[in-house]
């Protein structure tokens, strides 16, 4: 039998039992719609969560710290005194290790960093301010993945790039209770007075004044940079040496931290694993995202399972319809065989009819599930936008997302359900003895 004739015969047979086919297909429509809607909801929630996390941290960035404390089974690792005299570093981040990081596949930049390890007060006119002051081992803060809102991100001796929230940290210490505080200052291009404070062994306060010119303000990133003041590493090293009263040996003491940038998000976890294996502590928002992703994949499987149960019920409906059809059409099967149909022809016709019911139901289910998802999107986005505004997070763009593969998968799955459901009845039809089928009353 030609394929075109087979399809035509299947459509004719389905067409002559429209009501029954429609009623049976309703079960498949509901099951498929449930699969499409629930999995879309799971995917939408995952994308929304990832989007929110992407706002919190740069997913291509790995922060590397030395491991503190006694080496736990890390034979051969020597406990050293850390920078600033901090004891207990198992292995320093020095120039050799930075080169090791840079040589790892996928790594695009490695930036050594150090904090100011002492008291440092900033003054701008009458205003006082504090911030997380950090020295960068690069002359361009853009290497960290930050962008400039104003000015430049290029650093040179005696300059600083500040985060978007830093001006809000400045206050007037002479404002009395009830008085209006001054607005955050525009620090771009201004020179700040920085006072370094340390105490001698006998408790005497020693101060040192330096000047820092703000050359750039970073755009808000909802991350560490917003509250940071980035300066050249050489300046911060000089401050720290003044605090310690001795020269810092980077080879021995290492850097406080290194930022490793990876070109491809998919490689971040591999690079982080390699760094951990070298005996450092690598942390990345990507590992958190992966955890979240794992959770949402489980959620999608559970959601899909709920829909699949509905499809299973529909499968029983298809099997029942096909079994009834074969009982009703036993003489027709006998006739088909009498006029020369092979067992395979009969099997193909009845399997095709069952698959057709699954396909029709699948089409309806995909359309219904997708439409319901769009309605939920409209309703949920209005609600979530309000929630985001309160929390300050970027508003989600969709609550329910249907990936391209899902309708195709659902349609194939529904058709497959039809085929599996129709298999037993179709086999029964195909193996009927022609004469018995013709005599069936």
């Amino acid at each position: 039998m030609r394929v075109s004739d087979l399809i035509a015969l299947i459509l004719e047979n389905l067409g002559r039992r429209k009501a029954r086919v429609a009623l049976t297909a309703v079960g498949v429509v509901i099951g498929t719609a449930a699969v499409v809607l629930l999995v879309s909801l799971g995917v939408g929630l995952q994308r929304s969560a990832t989007q929110q996390l992407g706002g919190i941290g740069d997913l291509t960035r790995i922060d590397v710290y030395p491991v503190y404390g006694e080496p736990g089974g890390g034979g051969g690792i020597v406990v050293m005194e850390g920078p600033g005299g901090v004891p207990g570093i198992q292995q320093p981040i020095n120039d050799q290790t930075l080169e090791q990081f840079a040589a790892m596949p996928g790594v695009t930049a490695v930036i050594a960093r150090d904090w100011v390890n002492g008291g440092m007060m900033l003054n701008y006119g009458r205003l006082e301010g504090y911030g997380s002051i950090m020295g960068l081992g690069t002359d361009n803060a853009a290497d960290l993945g930050v962008t400039a809102e104003a000015g430049t991100l290029t650093l040179s001796k005696g300059t600083a790039v500040i985060g978007a929230m830093v001006p809000q940290q400045f206050f007037d210490p002479r404002v009395r209770p009830g008085q209006e505080p001054p607005p955050p200052p525009d620090l771009l291009g201004q020179t700040l007075k920085a006072t370094l404070i340390k105490y001698s062994t006998d408790g005497v306060e020693i101060r040192k004044m330096v000047q820092v010119r703000v050359v750039g303000v970073m755009a808000e990133s909802r991350g560490e940079a917003d509250w940071s003041i980035y300066m050249p590493l050489s300046d911060v090293t000089a401050y720290n040496e003044w605090f310690l009263g001795k020269r810092i040996n980077r080879q021995k003491d290492g850097y406080a931290n290194a930022v490793v940038k990876v070109g491809d998000v998919d490689q971040v976890l591999d690079v982080a694993d390699q760094i951990n294996e070298l005996g450092f502590q690598a942390s990345t928002p990507q590992s958190f995202v992966q955890g979240i992703n794992s959770f949402f994949i489980v959620l999608q499987v559970v959601f899909g399972g709920v829909g699949a149960i509905a499809l299973l019920v529909a499968a029983i409906g298809i099997a029942n319809t096909m079994a009834m059809a074969i009982l009703e059409r036993t003489r027709e099967i006998g006739l088909m065989k009498a006029v020369g149909a092979t067992n395979r022809d009969v099997l193909s016709v009845f399997l095709g009819e069952a698959a057709g019911i699954g396909f029709i139901g699948g089409l309806g289910g995909v359309a219904l599930g997708w439409s319901a998802g769009q309605i939920i999107n409209v309703l949920a986005l209005a609600y979530l936008a309000g929630q985001s505004a309160q929390s300050g997070a970027p508003p989600p763009t969709e609550a329910v997302f249907t990936p391209v593969w899902l309708p195709i998968f659902s349609l194939v799955f529904a058709t497959l359900i039809g085929v599996i459901s129709g298999l037993y009845p179709a086999l029964r039809a195909a193996t009927l003895v022609p004469v018995n089928a013709l005599k069936y009353e």
């Binding site: 039998m1 030609r2 006739l335 006029v339």
Partner: protein, 241 residues
């Protein structure tokens, strides 16, 4: 002397019904020549229809062999048997067995779907055959819109659609009035005259006069005319009692 077209040798067909074994065909040895019109007659339960279905490859014998046109049906697998039914045999049933949802044209063309013929060719051939049986003007009518005689003529057209050598008719006039039945018998005679081999099962001995030879069955065996008359007389006497 012509070579037998059909040959039954030691043919048996038994059915097990509960604890009882029914011997529907009980050892038949018989030959039928090509281009003949055979009437298989006998009382109810004599095995006429069983013999026809075995000949048509719709059932398999318990023992013995059936040879048609040099082909031994026992040796054919299911696919070959389907091919045999498609190419060699045209069936005509007492209850017509037309598909109610199809038009007369579609019913006639239906077997050609399994012969992999294209739609245009199927329709052309079906229309030609409907014209032959005098129903060209009813081509697009569904079975419910046709009389019994017309339905059987559609069934005859369907039986001829793949141009088979052997026409098997099972009580073709059983559901028809006398006038329609006569027309059907005339059609079968015409088919025989055109060179086809026709085997017709009937319980009506009057129809055997149209046949070139008559096969009389009693209790699953072929009997002589004298024995057959005697069996009918016994049946009639039993019915009278």
């Amino acid at each position: 002397m012509s070579t037998p077209f059909i040959r039954f040798a030691g043919l048996r067909k038994h059915f097990v019904m509960g604890r009882e074994t029914v011997r529907a065909i009980d050892s038949i040895d018989l030959t039928i020549d090509q281009h003949t019109f055979s009437a298989v007659v006998g009382p109810s339960g004599s095995g006429k229809s069983t013999l026809l279905y075995l000949l048509g490859g719709l059932d398999r014998p318990t023992a013995g062999s059936i040879e048609v046109g040099g082909q031994n049906l026992d040796q054919l697998d299911e696919n070959d048997l389907a091919r045999y039914r498609r190419r060699m045999v045209g069936f005509i049933f007492q209850s017509f067995n037309l598909i109610a949802s199809m038009t007369a044209l579609e019913n006639v063309a239906f077997p050609m779907r399994f012969a992999r013929r294209v739609r245009r060719e199927r329709n052309q051939r079906a229309l030609e055959l409907l014209r032959l049986v005098g129903l060209a003007n009813r081509a697009y009518h569904r079975p419910i819109e046709l009389s019994g005689g017309q339905q059987q003529r559609v069934a005859i057209a369907r039986a001829l659609v793949n141009d088979p050598q052997l026409i098997l008719a099972d009580e073709p006039t059983g559901n028809l009035d006398t006038h329609s039945g006569a027309a059907i018998i005339q059609l079968l005679s015409d088919l025989h005259a055109q060179g086809r081999t026709v085997v017709m099962v009937t319980h009506d001995p009057r129809l055997s006069r149209f046949a070139t030879n008559t096969i009389r069955l009693v209790d699953g065996r072929v009997v002589s005319e004298a024995d057959y008359e005697q069996a009918l007389a016994i049946d009639a006497a039993r019915a009278a009692d």
